[in-house]
């Protein structure tokens, strides 16, 4: 996964995926556009007749437009779940305003002398609408449809967050994996799509007033045709897996699942933010989560045993500057006091209390130390100051708080905490620059994100817990003069998860079990 191929090589290699994502993207855009036209056009016509309702309808559509797209998708999940339906609904809502507004403007701008003469000749209101007002308003209406199309092509990339497919799968996968080729493989076709659809519509628009009657037939047919590309990306009956864009593109993720386990099942791409809930609500059966995530407990999910160890271990351990350890030798045993007290399920429980029960990390950390009889009343704290850093999520907040209390209770050192230092890079840089003295890091992150181990190294380590730990410990000391202390004991790694009840009823405990079940399931069909 390290070597970055050329964009073209990536696109040819992934041409199957690229094609299916593009098709899904076109489909999503066009279906939602078609529905938006079917709703927006009559609505625009209606408010052109009733000016009093116009401000209300345009106001509501305008408010919908201002909701950030990712938030709108978020609102959709509790109502419509995940997949095509909420994605199309959200896109439809976005496309609505330009279509309603332009229909309204187009029709109200038709010269009243023309409609009056139409009335004067004895045309019925419907005849006037169909033969006079709509054809004359069509250029303006088409301009609205063009705007809506371009908006929709853009917003449809977000559909990848809720398992509706589209080019967002590459874009967000690329962002998560820091893979420029992958981002471009999604972004360039998406941009081209917007340009091409806009161009096609501009051709329709330019056919001139005279052929507008034909346009009003051609356009819906064209859209319908393009919409039919989009096939709902999963079938019923089999198990359905939802993986994050990042997981989909990783060797130690979906790619490894396919090559090492031979796992072959229906997958959709989905955002980490909605994945657990979707599994809980039975929209998904298997997800790729983090093994100590609090939502595991909240939604009663279990992790499957990685019996062929494709997921590298992510054991958490304090990483400390060597100079600090030399200056305060009493620090190391204190920082290693947590070792053996926190396994995966304990960490999950603690995370759950912070993330789900909204308890303060300080309180959770304190209660835990007290229950393990590790808590000591603070000493004077006049010997010196230790600065602790943490990344920006609950697990790290909790750990930092524990370390703070441990240091204050067992040494004469005082503690400053710098929590919420963003991601790995910020914490690591702060540590090497001497702005903090210690932060908790994960072995897998050290190996892949910081040391950027090459493929040969990865293969030699083979995902073995001890080997990985020893490798990063050695390399960090050599390269950065940083010490990895003893791991705390829990492994916050990738894991496949299922609902407890379903896993039990299908008798699936490991990924191999899952693979066997999926393969048999496929054979049955």
């Amino acid at each position: 996964m390290d070597e970055q191929q050329s964009l073209w090589a990536f696109m040819t290699q992934q041409s199957g995926k690229l094609w299916s994502q593009t098709v899904a993207h076109i489909g999503l855009t066009c279906i939602s556009l078609l529905i938006a036209i079917a709703v927006g056009l009559p609505l625009g016509i209606w408010i052109a007749r009733r000016k009093k309702a116009a401000w209300l309808v345009l106001g509501v559509a305008g408010i919908l437009q201002t909701i950030p797209s990712i938030a709108l998708l978020g609102f959709m999940i509790p109502l419509l779940g995940i997949g095509a339906l909420p994605a199309i609904t959200a896109l439809f809502l976005y496309a609505l305003l330009p279509i309603i507004r332009n229909t309204y403007t187009g029709i109200t701008n038709v010269d009243p002398a023309i409609t009056e003469s139409a009335r004067g000749m004895g045309m019925t209101p419907w005849q006037i609408l169909a033969s006079v007002e709509l054809p004359l308003a069509m250029p303006v209406i088409l301009a609205g449809i063009r705007t809506a199309t371009v908006i929709n092509v853009g917003v449809a990339t977000l559909a990848a967050y809720i398992a509706a497919g589209g080019l967002g799968e590459f874009i967000f996968g690329g962002i998560a994996l820091n893979n420029t080729q992958m981002i471009l493989a999604g972004a360039i076709p998406a941009a081209l799509l917007a340009v091409v659809l806009d161009f096609l519509l501009s051709l329709v628009q330019k056919t001139g007033l005279r052929k507008m009657r034909k346009v009003s037939v051609i356009l819906p047919v064209l859209l319908l045709l393009l919409s039919s590309f989009y096939l709902i990306p999963y079938t019923k009956g089999n198990l359905l897996a939802g993986f994050t864009p990042e997981f989909m593109g990783r060797e130690d993720g979906y790619l490894g699942l396919k090559t090492k386990y031979g796992l072959d099942m229906q997958t959709v791409v989905i955002s980490d933010a909605v994945m657990y809930k979707a599994a809980f609500e039975k929209k998904l059966d298997v997800i790729s989560g983090y093994s100590t995530d609090g939502r595991l407990k909240a939604f009663d999910l279990i992790t499957l045993d990685d019996d062929q160890s494709i997921f590298p271990p992510y054991y958490a351990a304090p990483v400390v500057r060597t100079a600090v350890l030399n200056q305060y030798p009493e620090l190391q045993p204190v920082l290693e006091k947590l070792t053996g007290h926190i396994n995966d399920s304990v960490m999950t429980e603690l995370n759950y209390r912070v993330d789900y029960l909204k308890q303060a990390p300080e309180r959770v950390a304190h209660d835990f130390l007290v229950s393990k009889k590790l808590f000591q009343t603070p000493h004077s704290g006049n010997k010196g100051r230790i600065r602790l850093g943490s990344k920006i999520f609950a697990e790290q907040y909790i750990l930092i708080q524990m370390y703070k209390e441990l240091i204050e209770g067992n040494t004469d050192l005082a503690v400053d905490t710098k929590t919420g230092l963003g991601g790995t890079k910020i914490c690591f840089d702060a540590l090497t620059n001497g702005e903090i003295d210690m932060y908790p890091e994960y072995t897998g992150t050290g190996l892949l994100a910081i040391l950027k181990a090459d493929r040969a190294t990865l293969q030699s380590l083979g995902g073995d817990r001890e080997k990985v730990y020893n490798y990063v410990k050695q390399e960090f000391l050599n390269r950065y003069k940083l010490q990895w202390l003893r791991p705390i004991g829990f492994n916050n790694a990738y894991a496949l998860m299922m609902r407890r009840a379903q896993a039990q009823s299908l008798n699936i405990h490991s990924i191999t079990d899952l693979k066997n079940h999926a393969t048999n399931g496929n054979h049955r069909h």
């Binding site: 010269d111 002398a113 023309i114 009056e116 003469s117 139409a118 009335r119 004067g120 000749m121 004895g122 045309m123 019925t124 005849q127 033969s131 006079v132 054809p135 004359l136 007033l209 005279r210 507008m212 009657r213």
Partner: protein, 316 residues
């Protein structure tokens, strides 16, 4: 033919037309004359229910229009508006075919009628496939007239039909319009603010002001027997011209001396004192010959014009 009985129109409590009554006989042309905002257009539009009367009743061809379906009513009434109202996305022939199509005519019938009307309105054959934007203002107005006449409606409503044209074009369109054979036997209501146009085209004029009819009658009545100061001052600017124009040569033919001259310039009894005065002064003649339908000739000199004019004034 058309009977308006005490019709009024209120827009949000403001009276645009109040208590207007008139009667237009079959084949007659009635003119609604007045300044802008006097309610003449509103009155016209009530006749084909483009505007619904608030009160009063209207009968056309002996039927109360309020009892008819507006669309059906309008298909039997030709309507020409000031801004021609042609459909910009229709060709000339498609524009003209609107009403016949609504009436369900056969395609070749429509084509036949269209060809004949375009010829009568002096529009070249190749205009049929053009779009309104490719025509001049005068040509557009001719097409609008053809569109109103194609289905041969017995009643024609004209809302300042020549109002948007420049004076030269207006005169020529009006002339060709007046000469249309299809126009004979038509009952027409014409709205205009142009006094000359009103006198030329109207058998009967209703002068309106502030939503009411101030005076109605033949043009001579309005000129020579104004009901009040408003009517008098309305015509004052062009009074001399107008008065000469409404005195026809026919009305003085019998009191003129016989003429034996044959070389002089001829006028017909259809023409008026103004035409005679124009000929005399432009061509520096002492007298002009007038012929009636029977071929009798009389001679008219400047003194005859003066005498006839004063007589008409005194009678008024």
């Amino acid at each position: 033919m058309i009977v308006a009985d005490h019709i009024s129109k209120h827009f949000n409590g403001i009276e645009a037309v109040s208590d207007v009554s008139f009667r237009v006989g079959a084949g007659e042309t009635m003119v609604l004359l007045g300044t802008s905002g006097c309610g003449k257009t509103t009155t016209l539009k009530m006749l084909n229910r483009l505007i619904e009367a608030t009160s009063g009743s209207i009968e056309i061809l002996g039927r109360r229009i309020s009892e008819e379906k507006p669309e059906i009513l309008r298909r039997s009434i030709g309507y020409v508006s000031q801004n021609n109202g042609l459909f910009p996305h229709y060709t000339v022939s498609e524009n003209i075919a609107v009403v016949p199509k609504l009436l369900g005519w056969a395609a070749n019938d429509i084509q036949e009628h269209t060809e004949r009307l375009l010829e009568q309105l002096k529009l070249p054959e190749n205009f049929r496939q053009k779009y309104p934007s490719e025509l001049s203002g005068g040509q557009q107005q001719r097409v609008a007239i053809a569109r109103a006449l194609i289905a041969d409606p017995p009643v024609l409503l004209l809302d300042e039909p020549f109002g948007a044209l420049d004076p030269v074009t207006r005169a020529s369109v009006r002339k060709d319009f007046a000469e249309l054979p299809a126009l004979k036997q038509k009952t027409m209501v014409l709205v205009t603010h142009d006094v000359q146009e009103a006198l030329e085209m109207g058998d009967h004029i209703c002068l309106m002001d502030k939503g009411r009819i101030v005076q109605s009658g033949a043009s001579a009545d309005l000129l020579f027997k104004p009901a009040n100061d408003f009517v008098r001052s309305f015509f004052d600017q062009q009074r001399f011209l107008l008065e000469l124009k409404i005195i026809s040569l026919r009305s003085i033919f019998n009191v003129l001396p016989n003429s034996k001259a044959t070389y002089q310039y001829y006028l017909t009894t259809e023409q008026n004192l103004w035409d005679a005065l124009e000929i005399l002064s432009v061509r520096h003649l002492n007298e002009v010959i007038i012929r009636n339908e029977k071929g009798e000739s009389r001679s008219l000199a400047m003194a005859d014009i003066q005498r006839a004019y004063h007589q008409a004034k005194q009678q008024g």
